[in-house]
């Protein structure tokens, strides 16, 4: 910018060099390498051999891949509507005048700062069928709770429940920021026109909240395709493979079965899925605005 000649390039190198080196070695390089690896068979012991599209063909014929994809979509189908709806309602409630409002906001946000492993361990214990808090509380009101994580038909529901508890505060925080950006005059104008509370929410809040809503939704979607930590700690993919998910399959194939090429191929399929959804979303959003 200010220096000239060699001195200038020295300055540029000083500012950008270290970061660029690291980004190439630890980010961009691995991305390219992973694409390359997806066309090879590699067990880490012998040299990788080119297999063309075979990994992708194998993938299509692999029932475990389809099961993991199905479970990931099941997770997404339960988690996304719940976390968005609950997060939205909490944001609406905490945007109105309540006593101890900032305390409530902090409480709802609290699980967001806890690590996934910590949250999953607490819930694993909470959901313990015999000694856990939840089933014992249900017993007080006369309900016999299920075995949660130990029952194939309840395991994914448990993962979803845990995830909604952890992430409600995240959605709430984004939507609250959006709500606070809506000018008061809009509500006052609506009120003067005689709009009821419901009408005000529908015709003022919702349209103006759309960008924040899309932002929270697309991030939640991207993250839920990559669901891993909570599954790993809560169920490990069980019981009887009922909660295997894509990232868990990728990690298993790469690091337990030493199928590096196959794992890379699967990770690219996941990437393309996420990319397509994100793209579709940004199109939809542009049309709505």
């Amino acid at each position: 910018m200010y220096e000239r000649g060699a001195r200038r390039w020295l300055t540029y190198g000083l500012f950008l060099g270290p970061s660029l080196l690291g980004v190439v070695v630890f980010l961009a390089g691995p991305i390219v390498a992973s694409l390359g690896l997806s066309f090879t068979k590699w067990d880490l012991l012998t040299a990788p051999s080119w297999v063309g599209l075979r990994n992708f063909r194998d993938l299509l014929a692999d029932p475990e891949f389809w099961a993991a994809l199905r479970h990931t979509l099941t997770f997404l189908g339960g988690y996304i509507p719940l976390v968005m709806a609950v997060g939205f309602l909490v944001a609406l409630a905490l945007n109105s005048r309540l006593p101890a409002r900032s305390l409530f906001r902090a409480v709802y946000f609290l699980p967001v700062v806890m690590s996934w492993v910590a949250v999953a361990l607490v819930w694993r214990w909470l959901l313990n069928p015999y000694y856990g808090l939840l089933n014992n509380m249900l017993a007080v009101v006369g309900i016999q709770g299920p075995a949660w994580l130990f029952q194939p038909q309840w395991a994914m529901a448990s993962v979803i429940l845990t995830s909604v508890w952890k992430d409600t505060g995240f959605v709430m925080a984004i939507l609250l920021a959006g709500l606070q950006g809506i000018p008061r005059e809009f509500y006052e104008a609506a009120e003067i026109d005689g709009a009821s509370v419901g009408q005000r929410v529908r015709h003022v809040t919702l349209p103006l909240l759309t960008p924040a809503f899309y932002f929270a939704l697309s991030i939640s979607l991207i993250n839920s395709f990559q669901v891993f930590d909570q599954v790993y700690v809560l169920t490990g993919g069980g019981p009887a493979g009922a909660t295997t998910v894509l990232v868990e399959r990728i990690v298993k194939n790469a690091f337990s079965f030493s199928r590096m090429g196959y794992a890379s191929a699967m990770s690219w399929v996941l990437f393309v899925l996420i990319f397509a959804i994100t793209l579709a979303f940004s199109r939809m959003q542009r049309r709505r605005l």
Binding site: F15, G29, L98, V113, V117, V122, T205
Partner: protein
């Protein structure tokens, strides 16, 4: 009521009371797991399996905390987490701010292409890079080492992007005055720009510290030695130490140790924490 500032008309009282009650009930639901964690960590082992479980321990004890440090090198693990998160954060702040400054102010051929490359890496899920990254780190001999835990996560395209945006909004006149006084670009950056960038550093710093503190997948892949574990990996390992009969009071004591620092950071820097997490959209 909801989201609506009451104009001349106050919201009807019963509605307001009902809303407050629902919100409070929800807050209790949010807190129950946290209380359950704390209460279990203060129970002696025989109280864990007594029914019905008590939310307030009958005979609270700190024994689980002592036991967990004996069953696992928790003290070392705790300081591993502190050190790894601190150094990763420091590295990220230095690297991101300098690269961000370069992208915001320097003019050279290919700058925009290069910046686009940074942005492109942001869209790729971490799991895509994981296999080659593991092989690179193994080739460098960095498995079971602090270098492996710290160096790769230090390079953050997100951080560079965040800092660049911030610097673009700073008026150029600030630097021009310094340059006229004969200061070098580096001196100008350190003396003029950095002191003005507190909010950006705080947002990125807190985000980066939390991401490192809570990171699980990467340590899981490159660390198997207890000595190099960070808290999340240590907790997951601890939970699996006694298959079938997890010592939940020990595990919860470890969990409490792992979440307390983050909760403290959150309580004292709420604004930055929320900003860092929501701006990035990358949850811990």
């Amino acid at each position: 009521m909801t989201g609506v500032r009451p104009g001349k008309r106050a919201p009807r009282a019963w509605r307001w009371v009902l809303l407050t009650m629902v919100v409070a009930l929800g807050a209790v639901g949010m807190l129950l797991p946290v209380v359950w964690m704390l209460s279990t960590s203060l129970k002696p082992s025989d109280a864990i399996l007594s029914l019905p479980p008590r939310l307030i321990p009958a005979h609270p004890t700190l024994a689980p905390f002592k036991a967990v440090t004996e069953a696992f090198p928790m003290v070392r693990v705790f300081f591993n987490s502190v050190g790894v998160a601190a150094v990763t954060t420091l590295g990220q702040l230095v690297l991101s701010s300098m690269a961000g400054y370069a992208f915001a102010r320097f003019r050279f051929r290919g700058r925009d292409t290069l910046f686009f490359l940074y942005l492109a890496t942001l869209m790729v899920p971490f799991v895509v890079t994981v296999t080659p990254l593991f092989i690179i780190v193994r080739t460098l001999g960095w498995t079971n080492s602090y270098a492996g835990l710290i160096v790769p996560p230090m390079f953050s395209a997100f951080g560079t992007f965040l800092m660049r945006q911030f610097f673009l909004d700073l008026p150029r006149e600030l630097e021009e005055a310094a340059v006229i006084d004969g200061a070098s670009t580096f001196t100008t950056f350190v003396r003029v720009i950095v002191p003005l960038s507190g909010p950006a550093f705080a947002t990125l710093g807190i985000f980066s510290f939390m991401a490192s503190w809570n990171n699980f997948l990467w340590p899981l892949l490159i660390v198997s030695d207890n000595k190099f574990m960070t808290l999340p990996l240590a907790l997951a390992t601890l939970q699996g130490l006694y298959p079938g009969q997890t010592q939940w009071n020990l595990v919860m004591a470890g969990t409490v140790i792992s979440v307390i620092p983050m909760i403290l950071v959150f309580l004292f820097a709420q604004r930055w924490v929320i900003q860092g997490i929501t701006a990035s959209g990358l949850k811990g």
